[in-house]
């Protein structure tokens, strides 16, 4: 599919083929109305109704088969806002353990500060609840183990991690392109999340500074790597197909000297077992490059971003020499000058789009897709915000016993990227993943003979 040079028209065809692979399954569905447990409703509660929890609540409130029965937060102002945001009449709690005692609650969503995630996940699983936890899944190395063990002890319960790019049509299409060889061999990923701002929330009562601005303090927060970088290390892990082997990095509090304890800029290089590298940067003093990931292979480059609901994706083809067996007859055509533009400019990739003026048949196909989604055979039905998609899919997993896309293993690998990169920066050394600790030799390193 990719062994010819790409013009815009050809690329459109290629992308259409990918879209067909990803989004347009053969519609041989016997009964369009056979969605399992169509009337089943999932009852859920949430702990942590701060800014992120509120975002999740807004999307959850649109899922037709979900019902919020309880909300929990230690800060009454946010608890009240949460109740207003979700509507209905959820029971308010200050203590999440009390909330977990409810028998009428199938699932719990955790959107608290990072240092609380692990204990809440384990408690919720032990209480028999299905769990959605915001990224980063856990804070420490020990917690990675504890949560993995907790999940293994409750195999019938869902544990999903809030890495919404895994639920984005654009990102899924991009990964399908990579799997089908669109980039050739992926060798490098460069990613950054650049902002220009102090990353602080306003605090009207100084007593609440650490509670509201918990992201600033090491007791509770993994800083930029945990709050922003974790989304993008997950994209690199996904594109490369493994977790890293080692990481080096440098961070500093160099611009916002306002009492914060976490770095206001971080630069890290992750090394993967196949020699691939992720070069990562997050800064808070310039927003020009925003949040994007550039995935580079020897045959092409993808640039992805989820800034806004749609996200954006661009593809560039490498101008590589084509090598074939000699012997075939040389045959050339002369003609008009070909524009250089088609190859040099990037080509946008898009997830499948639903036309605003759908015919009856197209609508039926949409219904068919919903059924396929509910079976887990097909991921996402049409353009919606990936945060909505992940919420809907979580409740579907709970209702129908499906496996989550962003599961405990993906969450654990992602958390390790945060934990080890922060350690590399704090201790100014190269940190290896435990399984490589005793095998630090570089993969396939060429020995240089002394002269």
């Amino acid at each position: 599919m990719f062994d010819y040079d790409v013009t815009r028209r050809e690329f459109a065809k290629t992308v259409a083929t990918f879209a067909a692979l990803v989004g347009m399954p053969k519609l041989e569905v016997p009964d369009l109305l056979a969605a399992p447990n169509a009337n089943g409703t999932v009852s859920w509660g949430m702990v942590g109704t701060g800014s992120r929890g509120m975002e999740l609540l807004r999307h959850l409130s649109k899922v037709p088969f979900g019902r919020c029965v309880a909300l929990c937060d230690i800060y009454p102002v946010n608890l009240k806002k949460g109740v207003e945001t979700i509507g209905g009449d959820p029971a308010p709690y200050e203590d999440y353990r009390k909330m977990l005692e409810r028998k009428d609650m199938d699932a719990v969503l955790i959107a608290t500060p990072l240092h609380l995630h692990a204990s809440m996940i384990v408690d919720a699983l032990s209480a028999g609840k299905h769990v959605f936890v915001e990224k980063t899944m856990v804070f420490t190395e020990e917690e990675v183990r504890a949560v993995k063990e907790g999940a293994a002890a409750h195999p019938k319960q869902v544990l999903q991690v809030g890495l919404q790019r895994r639920y984005s049509l654009l990102y899924r299409l991009a990964m399908e392109m990579i799997r089908k060889g669109g980039l050739g061999k992926v060798t490098h990923v460069r990613a950054q999340w650049h902002r220009n701002g102090n990353w602080r929330r306003t605090v009207t009562d100084p007593k609440l500074e650490r509670q509201i601005n918990w992201r600033m303090y090491r007791e509770y927060s993994g800083g930029l790597m945990a709050e922003l970088g974790s989304h993008q290390t997950d994209v690199a892990n996904w594109a490369i197909g493994s977790e890293p082997r080692s990481v080096i990095g440098i961070g500093g509090i160099d611009y916002w000297k306002d009492g914060r304890e976490i770095y206001d800029n971080v630069q890290c290089i992750f090394e993967y077992p196949g020699g691939q590298k992720l070069v990562y940067s997050s800064i808070t003093s310039n927003a020009h490059f925003g949040p994007t990931e550039q995935i580079m292979g020897d045959e092409g480059t993808l640039e992805l971003g989820l800034d806004g609901p749609t996200g954006k994706g661009m593809y560039w083809r490498e101008a590589r020499a084509k090598v074939t067996q000699a012997g075939s007859k040389e045959q050339w055509w002369e003609g008009a000058t070909v524009s250089a533009e088609a190859q040099q400019k990037g080509v946008p990739i898009f997830p499948e789009r639903i036309s605003p003026d759908q015919s009856f048949l197209q609508r039926e196909m949409t219904y068919a897709k919903r059924w396929l989604v509910s079976r887990g055979w097909y991921d996402l039905k049409e353009p919606r915000d990936p945060v909505y998609n992940q919420m809907e899919h979580f409740l579907l997993c709970v209702r129908d016993g499906l496996k989550p896309v962003a599961d405990v293993n993906i969450g654990a690998s992602d958390a390790e990227c945060v934990i080890y990169s922060n350690r590399a920066m704090d201790e100014t050394r190269r940190v290896y993943w435990p399984q490589y600790e005793n095998n630090k030799q570089e993969p396939a390193k060429t020995k240089v003979k002394k002269a």
Partner: protein, 330 residues
């Protein structure tokens, strides 16, 4: 386990100063402009601590961006786009905030006898104002478009919190109220952060004022003369109040010797003629944004009648004959 050991270990010195000094010091003015909803939003805020003000203004912009993402009919993944694709087939569940907004819109439609209508989109399309600069459609096209227009065809069910359409081809477009609501919400974020002097503008069409600038009674806002952009047709002193303007001079096209503006009468399907601009002063951006378009459509006499029934709202009504204030303040 106490999740956050208190009391706070780190007190921000500037914040402590702010609390100690009270509202006497207001030395910093912060102004920022950012793009959203197809226009430019500007926020001006006064305070004592630059970093704190920056956080507050940043959070206010985040609120505007959120509403843009969720409610824009230009963004396919937005809730409004989802409703527009599916509400004619089946009821679509929406979040409580959007349900409240849609209820408010239908209430304005009822109150203005259909002059305000969020279903006007199909008309904008046939008249070429949707992502275009305007064209003269055939009367059959207008008639067909009117089949998919009408606020009475929007069904809201409070029990299931769903919205559905009674006719195929209908589209919701919150363009006539959304920017005003966005600056109301952004103002609420600033107020919650303790900001007591700020001005929020969406383009130049809607303005919300919090308090007054330090040392002044109110924010002075000049209303543009629709016939001469360099002249003022009136001046308003805004304090904890809002102002919105609609003008036929903003977007129009000429065909067959006539000028057609982009403001439509949803009841007839044709652009409103004879009104140059309407500027409404009221208590919220949502209210003034919705009413500036509605009063433009209603015409001067009906507008005067509407404003007599709704004290507290004023409007500067400009036609070829000149500009006149209608209604009265509280």
């Amino acid at each position: 386990m106490k999740p956050f050991p208190g009391p706070a270990k780190t007190l921000l010195p500037a914040l402590a100063l702010l609390i100690a000094a009270g509202p006497l010091l207001s030395e910093i003015r912060l102004e920022q402009t950012r793009a959203a909803m197809g226009t430019q939003f500007t926020i001006v805020a006064y305070g004592d601590d630059e970093s704190y003000l920056q956080s507050a203004v940043s959070a206010a912009f985040d609120e505007i961006f959120r509403l843009d993402r969720e409610w824009s009919d230009y963004i396919e993944e937005s809730d409004i786009s989802f409703i527009n694709r599916h509400a004619a087939e089946e009821p679509v569940k929406v979040d409580p905030e959007l349900f409240r907004m849609l209820s408010t819109c239908l209430e304005y439609s009822r109150e203005t006898g259909g002059a305000f209508d969020i279903t006007v989109g199909p008309l904008l399309r046939v008249w070429g104002f949707y992502r275009g600069t305007g064209r003269l459609p055939k009367s059959e096209e207008i008639k067909a478009a009117l089949g998919a227009v009408g606020w009475q065809k929007v069904r809201l069910d409070p029990r299931s919190r769903t919205v559905s359409f009674a006719a195929a081809g209908m589209k919701l477009d919150l363009g006539g109220i959304g920017k005003g609501y966005a600056i109301d919400r952004a103002a609420a974020v600033l107020r919650e952060a303790g900001v007591t002097a700020a001005l929020l503008l969406s383009g130049t069409s809607s303005i919300v004022a919090i308090g007054a600038p330090p040392g002044q009674e109110a924010w002075t806002v000049n209303i543009r003369d629709p016939k001469d952009a360099h002249k003022s047709a009136g001046q308003v002193m805004l304090k904890d109040a809002s102002l919105s303007a609609s003008g036929s001079y903003e977007k129009f096209f000429k065909a067959d010797g006539k000028t057609y503006s982009h403001i439509f009468d949803p009841r007839t399907g044709y652009p409103v003629q004879g009104v140059l601009s309407v500027t409404v002063v009221g208590s919220s951006g949502t209210e003034t944004d919705a009413l500036s378009t509605s009063l433009f459509v209603l015409g001067k006499e009906e507008s005067a009648y509407y404003l007599r029934k709704h004290p507290g709202i004023r409007a500067l009504y400009c036609t070829e004959a000149g500009c006149e204030w209608l209604g009265r303040a509280h």
